[in-house]
Assembly symmetry: C2
Homo-oligomer: 181 residues x 2
């Protein structure tokens, strides 16, 4: 999450940090008052999938905050040591216990206010056996007219589903890049 | 940069942190031994452009480490408060002083070993007036056969240029997503 001015101490030596613009920089950074270490804060990535089974898509009802009880595509934070595709597959397994064949990158959506970039990949479910993990209350398949549009957890999920059904309707999927403001 | 186990102290209270797997997690995180704060480390994003002028593309020779003296497309770390497109435009201005019209997202390349995801956008130069910033030794235009392939700074730059000339040859640009291993 985007938490500006969250760094109060140096991660190297533990002494207090203060925010100032370093030499040859243009932005305020957390700088250690003792050792001079500069700590940068950057947007982080969220990765997920649009798992399809025939004319249905898989959604998960969140068992955790934020947005407890609302519906989402399986997605979560990209970890060090994995690619965006690998992270999207891992999250689909963790949140829904779903076996998928990963498809192409589908949406790349900036959520500047949250300091996040969200990636969703197309995916084909290999069967309908689902085994939701502890972060999911339930996982189930929805036809387009069944999607709980008013109970979706995130705007990037809404936008990705909207683009998915539009592209499916015209018979051609392409990559969509944009911003959620 | 990907610097695992770099966190030695809590950013909230400054007390020592140690790496352990938190409850209900699967990965080791830096956890404060005093206040319990968990500090996550995630991949960061690099954003840039492929600025074109007729049959030429703009490259910058780096005045900074890493890869001092080698050639790169204008690119740098995505900052909080900006979208990937905005960051790509900012970096093009900072590194080359180039006026561009930003085009479509072109490459999304994971560099897992570096803990990075690189984004390059197509761009049209508006004129050939360049004003390289302090991070750039020189900026100039190259035709395809002039590109210094053996003196490129980063593999994502090489791959993006390769894809750019291939797509230009066939007369159609599309988004390319993949990994640099």
């Amino acid at each position: 999450m985007f938490e500006p001015r969250r760094i109060r101490h140096c991660r190297v030596c533990g002494h207090p940090a203060r925010y100032a613009v370093p030499p040859e920089d243009t932005r305020e950074r957390a700088i250690c008052t003792a050792c001079g270490e500069i700590q940068y804060e950057n947007p982080i990535n969220v990765v997920g999938t649009v798992p399809a089974w025939g004319d249905q898509v898989l959604l998960c009802r969140r068992a955790i905050e934020p947005r407890h009880g609302l519906w989402t595509l399986p997605a979560g934070f990209l970890e060090l040591g994995e690619s965006t595709a690998e992270g999207a597959m891992r999250e689909t397994d963790e949140e829904a216990g779903a076996r998928i064949e990963l498809g192409a990158l589908f949406t790349v959506l900036n959520v500047v206010s949250a300091g996040q970039v969200h990636f969703f990949y197309l995916a084909q479910l290999q069967d309908t056996v689902l085994a939701p993990g502890p972060e999911t209350l339930e996982a189930r398949l929805f036809r387009e007219h069944e999607v709980p549009w008013d109970e979706l957890a995130f705007r990037t999920v809404r936008e990705t589903l909207r683009l998915y059904f539009a592209d499916r309707e015209r018979g051609r999927f392409e990559v969509h890049a944009g911003d959620i403001r």
